[in-house]
Symmetry: C2
Subunit: 249 residues, 2 copies
DNA sequence: CCTCTTTATAGTCGTAGCGACTATTAATTC
DNA sequence: GAATTAATAGTCGCTACGACTATAAAGAGG
C-alpha cells in the first residue's frame, strides 16, 4: 500500500497531523585498507546537482526493504561481490537536514561497511563508475557526504578501541602485523609492535591461533604466525588509542 | 530494476516512480533518575493499534524540520518544559523494518534524551497522557518500542564509560554521591565510593568544584562538596563498568 | 656461503591505575 | 551526648601498560 498522506488522506490515527512523505535512501561509507592506506568506495555523479563530483554509493529503500536490507543490496551491487553476507555492515546515523538534497526532501540512513580485501569494483547495473579512492583526498564530495564520511571514520576509529572490529578489515587468516596495520591506518600513527602483540594476545577472544602452527611465508623477515578472529565481540580490557599531543595539561 | 537517483542513466532529477514515499517520525527515549530508579517517559495510546498500551513519545517530522529539530520540539511538548535547549538529546538509530507499523510504512529516527530533575509531564497538545514509568517494568510497549528502549539503555550505559554523559542526569550543581548514583542506577550495581571519587577527580575536565567551597547541607551525614560539569567531553582514562560475572574464563 | 637486512617474537623495568580495604571527619537523629 | 550516616583521606598489592632491549628466522645480495 502506498502512502499518499499529504492533506487529509492520512490513515487512522495520524489524521491530526499533516505530514509530508519523504524519500528514504541509504548511503554507504565502504572502507577498506589497500597498501597501508585507508580507501573509500566512491561513485562519480553524471548529472546535476554535483555533476562530476564523487559521492558515496547509495540508493532508495524499496517498499519491502528495511534500511539494512537496502544497504546490503547496494553493497553487493556496488562492489560486485557475490557474497556480502559475511561483511561487516553497521548503521551509522540518519541525516535529515531539509536542504541536504536541493531537489526534494530526502532522509538518508547512512551505513558503514568494512571490507578485508579490495577487489576493483564493477559498476553494478546502471550505476556510475565506482572506484576506490584514498580517504585523505576523497573530498569534496557531493551533498553532505563529506560529513557522513568523516562521521564514519570517527566511528570506526572509536570502535577499534573496544570492539573486535579490526578483524573485519582482515582476511579470514591474518598475522598480527596485518592487524596492527589496521589500527595504524585508521588511527593514523604508529604503535609499538611488542606492546600491541602483548595486548591483543592478552585480550581473551580477540584472536585465536590457526591450528597447526601455520605461518605466513614469502615475506621478507621471520614468518609470522597466522590468527583467526576470535569469538569475543567486545574487548576487555579495551585497546585505547594513544592520546593526542596536548591532552594532558 | 529500479532507477537510481544517483545513477548515471537516470533522467534529470529523481524519477518519481522509482521509490515509494515513507512517513518519517521521531521516537524519544526520555530517561531520568527519580528516587534512585531509572524512569522513562511514556504515553498511553488511546486508539488502535496497541490501544491502551504504553509507547515512547514521538511524532512526525514536519516538512521544514530535521529529525533533530523535530525531536527537540516533541521533547518540549511532552515534558512541558519551557527550555529544553540545554538538555542532552542524541540520535540513537533509525528503525525501518517494513512491518513495524501495521498501518503504513513508517521510518522512525529514535533519540535518547537525558533529564536531570523529573517534573511531572504535562500532556502537551492533543497527546495522550504522559507519565514517568520505571524502566524495569515499562514493557511491553507498543510497536517495536521495547527494542528501542533497550537499545537506548544499552547506549547510555556504554557512554557513561567514556563520556561525561552522567552529568546530564544531574542538576547544574551536584555532589559526587549523586553522580555515583547515576552510574549505579544505569549500570545496575554498586560502586566503591572512595574509588569512584578518586577516579572522577583524577579525570581532568569531568567535574570542577563550585567556587567558595560550597557544600550541600540538609542530608544525614557529612555535607558533600558541590561540583559542576567540567569542560571535557570524553573521559581519559575511561571509567569502565565492572565486568559481569563469568567474563574471565 | 656468509653477512646484512627485515620482521616476528620474547622478555625486562618502572610507573600509573585500580580494586579492596581501613580510618577519619562532620553532619543529623534519637 | 551517643549512635548513625555519609563524605573524605589514605594504604596496599596487583595488573596493565609504555618504553625499551634482546633473540630468532626468514630473504637479499655480495
Amino acid at each position: 500500500m502506498t502512502a499518499r498522506a499529504t492533506g487529509g488522506s492520512a490513515p487512522e490515527g495520524y489524521d491530526k497531523h499533516a505530514f509530508e512523505p519523504f524519500a528514504v535512501t541509504v548511503d554507504l561509507a565502504v572502507l577498506t585498507i589497500r597498501a597501508g592506506a585507508l580507501d573509500v568506495l566512491l561513485v562519480e555523479r553524471g548529472q546535476e546537482p554535483y555533476a562530476g563530483r564523487w559521492a558515496l554509493p547509495g540508493g532508495f529503500v524499496l517498499p519491502d526493504e528495511s534500511a539494512e536490507t537496502a544497504a546490503r543490496r547496494e553493497l553487493a551491487e556496488e562492489t560486485g561481490l557475490a557474497d556480502v553476507s559475511g561483511l561487516h555492515l553497521e548503521q551509522l546515523r540518519t541525516y535529515s537536514e531539509p536542504g541536504r538534497d536541493p531537489r526534494m526532501r530526502v532522509v538518508s540512513v547512512a551505513f558503514t561497511a568494512l571490507l578485508p580485501d579490495a577487489p576493483e569494483p564493477r559498476g553494478g547495473g546502471d550505476a556510475a563508475e565506482a572506484r576506490w579512492r584514498p580517504y585523505d583526498t576523497a573530498g569534496p564530495l557531493a551533498f553532505d557526504h563529506d560529513r557522513i564520511l568523516a562521521d564514519a571514520h570517527e566511528r570506526v576509529g572509536a570502535q577499534l578501541e573496544y570492539s573486535c572490529l579490526a578483524t573485519a578489515f582482515c582476511p579470514p587468516e591474518f598475522t598480527l602485523g596485518e592487524l596492527q596495520q589496521v589500527y595504524e591506518t585508521v588511527w593514523g600513527g604508529t604503535l609499538d609492535r611488542p606492546n600491541f602483540r602483548r595486548k591483543v594476545l592478552a585480550t581473551p577472544g580477540f584472536v585465536e591461533p590457526v591450528p597447526g602452527a601455520a605461518r605466513l611465508t614469502g615475506g621478507r623477515g621471520k614468518p609470522a604466525a597466522l590468527y583467526r578472529a576470535g569469538t569475543a565481540a567486545a574487548l576487555h580490557p579495551p585497546l585505547l588509542r594513544p592520546p593526542r599531543e596536548g591532552s594532558p595539561a
